[in-house]
Subunit: 294 residues, 2 copies
Amino acid sequence: MGADRNVTPRKPALWITGKKEIFERVQTARLLNHTIRLVPTMGNLHEGHASLCRQAAEETSFVIATIFVNPIQFGPKEDFAAYPRTPEEDRELCARSGVDLIFAPNVETMYPADSCTRVQVSETEKPLCGRHRPGHFIGVATVLSKLFHLIPADIAFFGLKDYQQCLVIERMVEDLDFPLKIRKCPIVREPDGLAMSSRNRYLNPEERGQAVILKRSLDLATRLLQQGERDAGRLRQAMIDEIASAPLGRLDYAEILDAQSLASIDRVDRSAVAALAVHFGKARLIDNALLNPM
Amino acid sequence: MGADRNVTPRKPALWITGKKEIFERVQTARLLNHTIRLVPTMGNLHEGHASLCRQAAEETSFVIATIFVNPIQFGPKEDFAAYPRTPEEDRELCARSGVDLIFAPNVETMYPADSCTRVQVSETEKPLCGRHRPGHFIGVATVLSKLFHLIPADIAFFGLKDYQQCLVIERMVEDLDFPLKIRKCPIVREPDGLAMSSRNRYLNPEERGQAVILKRSLDLATRLLQQGERDAGRLRQAMIDEIASAPLGRLDYAEILDAQSLASIDRVDRSAVAALAVHFGKARLIDNALLNPM
């Protein structure tokens, strides 16, 4: 249980679908003095997820990955039905990444017919994906409230690719006094710079080739900042122009916001985040970079 | 610690205002194998609250009462500022009702300036007080989410005078998988039948005399049901007419709804609830009765 942490394949992680069983397993692990570490995912795991799991897997920890494609965080025209589901591969990746147990409930378990409670992080959810995907973060905050209760963890791990999601979750945990810590982990990228994402598999080869423009656009903003540019509008326009150089890309948003509050800023005088969402064919890709003026 | 459970006065219950301290105290009590029992209140405690505390106080239990006048469950024109605050008397009542510890945070502790997360139980909150006090149950659900995290209890106790509140809380606990049980406790009444409430102290003697009309109206509906009346509209009208016989009363609502879903019903063919809200001067009083057809 969390002792042998290497990357060689080992026996598959335990696969649990019931609420009662997962709760009891966690209680048992806690009684055995393990710290409980949670990696919530929607499955179709890639090296970004594996990186989260490996960071969670320390000597005394009991690592639980959840795999649940959460319907209420998808809009009616979004890709809930098409979202890739690869349980066998996920289980293997978990096994070689230090996961002890996988919780993979079905939709009826998580949302019985009369379920009607929602959690909303009203300020943090407003800009970026919150504006472009109405209701998305209500779905995220609600499902995580449930998972944090079913799996009373000490630390939950999230990837910084979903930057706004990280802030929404941190805000929720602080506002509602959840007794757990949030660990935000660095973005994991393909060799050419594209941020790892389950949605990358929607890309055809031509789209895949051009999708690196998100990272290039963020790198451009970082470079301009280093050269002294502080005007948020000009930095943003430079990102937009860079994205436009990829003919298959359709910009959803490009913003430069305060890194903590996500408030609009005119100048980058303190830590800011450059955040992008760009459609390529069926895929909507997001990426971001912190902009720290010296 | 929960051992000596009689109604004679004893030393005052511990009074705690900080989040960290309350959480640690609860962890300690849990390590000592106490079951944690929570009685959330807004203070100005009366025999209704005392009854909840006494029901919570069993041999192995550690009883925590919370006293917090929760600003976000009051509307802008409601009585947040005027709501009675009687900490000394509350402490004495707790001491003689088996309470081990009182958690009484201030508003800034519970709602720092950047706090923005809210919990909404959308269906259950719609009728009755939810319609007449917009946002009220969002405030209730949010503060209880926080208290349930700060004080990870096994059971939380609530009075059935706030019938809809009980349903909202039960729904929230089930929907969000909170690991605690809700115990709904009978309404405690004055000798003439008026349901105990902190707001009764707003009544002048004349209003106090007439306020018994709520209970009489509910008794009338119960009697008519026993006599065979099943038509919800006629039962409701009988309640309204009865309330009208108290000249100082101003009806807020009188409803007969499904006892579980709070859906509108035409006939009382299964368990229903008769629910009333009536203004007397500055006081808005609520009361209810279950209607069970034989």
